[in-house]
């Protein structure tokens, strides 16, 4: 069971930013040397503050971006530098569900066309395609009749369902869920999460679930990786991560989550970070978290801690944990 579907080794993705005003072009180190595995059938959660590189990892894995460096092994194939032609046969195994249900559907395509788009790359007859589409609509809780409607006529939650149906249509092995619920209302979020979970059970899907809502990630994920400024700082199983956070950032992050339980909220010991996230263009030398870390030691100033497995299935990148 614990067979990796995706292996990521020393992945780097830098973006060149054109600075018309200054002398040189600079690089945003959106993802900087990250390694982890995603096992078959599991949900791997990725959390972290805005701009820390979560989406970039996801998009690099699905090869929407070309990695700057590193290896991506998908289903046993190294796809990190594969050309588009070679990638083609893997494409249908990797699907994406996006954050913004308004921006992820072409407003000028009907629901049928939208779900049909990935199907077109397969060799399926038109009739079969229709049947597949009807099936999918039903599965995600929409009506058959919706096939001829346009995204603009649906609410956010419904659109997200269309997005899910589209992702499922080609029977992928892996789905990247990039904050699929953050644009939705609380009551709708749960609907979408439940659908995702049900489908995973039904089809044995593997998810990379990106979110900055820690409780949601906790809820859906088997394992979680915590990111900070382009780096993975801690990886653990979902349950253990919350019980036993080791990295100071993870601790702070967890204690920042507002808890919908007044008594618990009152009694807990919160660790509140000071300051803001530094720019990923010139991240701090040494440990990237040092500027906001209470437990900083001298070593953090110069030496960048590596992500190391300290227990089975639990890795941390902090000098204090050794």
């Amino acid at each position: 069971m614990k067979e990796p579907l995706i292996e990521i080794k020393n992945l780097k993705k830098y973006f060149e930013v054109k600075n018309s005003f200054l002398k040189r072009n600079e690089f945003v180190k959106a993802v900087d040397n990250v390694s982890f595995n995603i096992n078959k059938g599991e949900t791997f959660g990725l959390v972290g503050e805005s701009g820390c590189g979560k989406s970039t990892i996801g998009r690099t894995i699905t090869r929407l971006y070309k990695p700057t460096e590193g290896k991506i092994i998908f289903n046993g194939n190294n796809i990190s530098h594969m050309k588009e032609r070679g990638l083609k046969k893997h494409r249908k195994d990797m699907q994406i569900i996006f954050q913004d249900p308004f921006a992820s559907l072409n407003p000028y395509m009907s629901v049928g066309d939208i779900i049909n788009e990935p199907l077109e790359i397969l060799n399926i007859s038109k009739k079969d395609r229709f049947n597949i589409i009807y099936d999918l609509l039903e599965k995600v809780g929409l009506n058959k009749g919706d096939i001829d409607r346009y995204p603009g006529e649906f609410s956010g939650g419904q659109r997200q369902r269309i997005g899910i149906a589209r992702a499922l249509s080609v029977k992928p092995k892996f789905i990247l869920c990039d904050e699929p619920t953050s644009a939705l209302d609380v009551s709708i979020q749960a609907q979408v999460i439940n659908i995702l979970k049900d489908l995973q059970d039904e089809f044995g899907l593997t998810y990379l679930f990106i979110s900055h809502d820690l409780s949601m990630v906790n809820h859906i994920s088997d394992r979680i990786g915590v990111m900070y400024l382009g780096k993975l700082v801690e990886v653990n199983t979902s349950d253990n991560l919350y019980k036993d956070p080791l990295h100071p950032y993870t601790k702070a992050l967890l204690s920042s989550i507002p808890i919908a339980d007044p008594d618990l909220a009152k009694n807990r010991n919160r660790e509140i970070l000071t300051g803001d996230v530094p720019s990923p263009i010139n991240p701090p030398k040494g440990c990237r978290f040092k500027t906001r870390c209470k437990y900083k030691i001298d070593k953090c100033e110069y030496i960048e801690p590596e992500l190391r497995e300290i227990k089975k299935g639990h890795s941390v990148a902090c000098h204090l944990t050794i």
């Binding site: 018309s20 005003f21 200054l22 002398k23």
Partner: protein, 317 residues
Amino acid sequence: MTNYILKRILQGITMLIIISIISFTLMHMAPGDPSTSYISPKMNASEIQAVKERLGLNEPIYIQYIKWIKKVLQGDLGYSLIDFKPVTQVIKSRLPATVGLMGSSLLLSLLISIPLGLYTGKKKGKTIDNIITTISYIGISIPSFWFGILLIYVFAYKLNLLPSVGMRTLGEPDSILDVIKHGILPCIVLSFSSISIYTRYIRTSTIVQLNANYVRTEEAYGFSKYKIMFKYVLKNVLLPIITILGMSLPNIVTGAFVTETVFGWPGMGRLGVDSIFNYDYPVIMATTMLTATLLIIGNLVADILYGIVDPRIRNMR
């Protein structure tokens, strides 16, 4: 900042060179050339050749171009092939008329369009807004020569209030007042369309700014409509106008081909048209390059100015 300016200047120069090559080639590749006005039917081939030689038209285009640009770099724009005066002198004699006319039209346009734009933006959807918007539509849709002739017909001929053509009353001593009197009608023609354009621009910008979140904040702190409008919104609305002004700079040279022709205004626009009709290459080139230079400088200055006034950009630098 200095780096940026230097880079932009360098870019500008490259652009100018490319523009000069394009214009030069276009012009010389087109059929016909200035020698036609010197060649009389009685001339034989060698005499025609001599005329072309005298005008410097017998060599291949690229050599002509190199010769031309060499001279330009030394500040010599050559001689007009028509009245055989140095091009610089020709332009110098025409520039003030155009700058005066376009400058005052620009000023007038701003003076009218800013309040009008703010007002209509504020009164969006009201009758007065609809009226002004409709007028501004007419302003950008009316052929300017027709408008010009109509004005001359009404104000100069029917009402006899203003002079019809030219820049001065002949035979009277030069006076600013006289020039202004002559300039009123062309200035109105030129301003009508630019007022329309600016007003619409400012109106849209005002509507956008009035809907901005910061306005809500200011309202929530009890500032009056007027204070919000004239202190907080105004600055946000006016900043982008700098860009428009930058782009209007070249109009000062050539924007008035038609209007100057209608009103017999002795400016660069007329010069441009005349030089085209007469194949006066050096003048055409000079006019083109002057306009392009002004456009590039205008944009650069606008960008820099914008950067200086707009804090958001200022700090980026």
